[in-house]
Symmetry: C4
Subunit: 194 residues, 4 copies
């Protein structure tokens, strides 16, 4: 079974998620700066989520580039990942409109954590379909970066109730850690080609 439609469908869903998030930023009625100010937290959480969806798109792109076999398990693992990502517009809007209040901040961390777990499951499903000696299995290895992210999100959830800014700091730090696309896969692919 080809991976092309899986990529096309995922691209479609990710493109829509990244674009409809902006709809949570409602057009204000006034025409002065004061009308724009309440939107600042919504805008900031939009930027954060835009970067996260961009990270997922980049890494998804890399992972499927290194993939050759797709089976039913991979299709559903991919849909499971898209499910958690599809909650981004909702959870981003809730966090932004409540000015990063503790509970919405914790809930945002929960969705991030579940998306991270879903990404890990997808990687496992692909490796299971391709075999332990596959290119992807070598490229990802023990996937310390992915597991560390999940631990950090899990830590941020209770921390949000002590200080939401600490939790936000963790979300920003993990995003920065991922901004560079997955060099491990790029390197393994480059090794493979030479």
């Amino acid at each position: 079974m080809g991976k092309n439609r899986l990529e096309a469908f995922s691209d479609g869903v990710l493109a829509i998620i990244i674009t409809i998030m902006v709809l949570e930023m409602k057009v204000p009625h006034g025409e002065d700066l004061a009308a724009l100010r309440p939107l600042l937290p919504v805008f900031l959480s939009y930027v954060l989520s835009f970067v996260y969806v961009g990270i997922y798109w980049n890494n998804h792109h890399h992972m499927l580039h290194a993939t050759h076999r797709v089976d039913g398990g991979v299709l559903w693992a991919n849909l499971h990942l898209l499910f958690w990502l599809s909650l981004f517009p909702f959870i981003t809007g809730w966090m932004g409109e409540n000015h990063f209040a503790p509970l919405p901040t914790a809930a945002y961390g929960f969705v991030l954590m579940m998306a991270g777990v879903a990404y890990l499951i997808l990687a496992r499903a692909i490796i299971a379909a391709e075999g332990r000696d596959s290119l992807l299995a070598k490229a990802i290895g023990t996937d310390r970066k992915g597991k560390a992210s999940i631990v950090l999100y899990a830590a941020a959830i209770p921390l949000a109730f002590a200080s939401q800014w600490l939790a936000q700091g963790i979300y920003v730090a993990v995003a920065l850690m991922w901004l560079v696309p997955d060099r491990r896969i790029e390197r393994a692919l480059a090794d493979h080609e030479h």
Copy 2:
């Protein structure tokens, strides 16, 4: 005529349907758990519909993978299927916001049933274009699973007025029955390749 644009267009529509359904889950104004609680039925119906659209995408993917010829009848049969699927966001929102009340639950079953019928018609249109000896005709056979689903949805519609939970149970059971992608087609394809 190629099937590529048919797949691309269907992927686009399915990706949008699965993603805009989440827009029915309106961002609440409060920042506490109490603000989130009224959203629970909307969330649950979102999960159910997400799984159903995922099932349709998976099966559609498999069916077109086994397809070689596409004619005008297939294009319209496909649009007919997409029409019923396009009602998912509306009917899911209506069912969720009314906490699975009898009439919305029955209406949800009606849309599921019509989508099931449309899928059957699409399979017939493809077989008509490809010929009775085609790969797909062999793979699907009498399509007992598809017909059984339609009968179950049809039964759930009146049952919803006796007990909506019975109808919901049927919807969940049919979804579970389909969660595994169409092994019949996978097997026929595998046989074909060997």
Copy 3:
């Protein structure tokens, strides 16, 4: 320049138009049949517009299938067509919510007419890029069907103020006339292949 991205972009826009139209059908607050009844005209205008976007997608699909060269003029003629089609969700919602009142019915006819004109311009732009002896030029010929549709829409606009049902009848009749995909192109392509 390849036509693939033109097709992909058009498929994307058409898929979104056909799907967001359903968002004009707002989820009602009540849970009984009475809550659903005011939505009937919105639903009917949704069905009509769904069929029209489906017709445009089918014919666009056929036309580009017969196309080999795409230049800047074709790109803009295509965007011009997509512009008028992008007004479908708005005009469909306006007509439906006002129960097919004369002015919204006439305005719907105006958008249909402009989309028809834009389709004609696109066909001309492709023929200009491909040459008078191209496959498409032979297939479309004088395009009597396209021109007749435009005349019928133009007639429906003033007729809507005499009787909106007459205008609606014209819209339905033209849609039925187009439901069959463009056999002229299919035939010319078939001739070409043999």
Copy 4:
């Protein structure tokens, strides 16, 4: 790394942006011309933004047509461009609903300017990945047109507070200047092929 998914994802995002902008044009409640009149400025700003997104799609299409290598830097430069374009529906709606008031007009110019800067950065990132002797580097050269646009947007921002119509005139003039797709790239490609 292939450029196909980059194109597909960008096409998806641009298709969604260009289509959801129309959602800012809310369906009015009345059924007469008076109900339509307040929508005129929203409609005009929709037309302007539709043309701008069309220009970006056309130029993006041309630029990637001349591109062969895509690396991590290009992926993020592309996402950065999509970020500013994703603000079009919001800023277009704000400008339209406030009848082209000075501040929204200036803010619109700011988003246009940032998108222009992001496009320049993307071109640089591609040239950096492809090398100074690449086809694209030759085709774009010093990119006087792109830089001139950015200077004009920057001038329009303060001018909007003196006269918003002057700023609007600049936006329209720059759009007209770009309506013709990038002949420099077309010419360089044509030279290359001969």
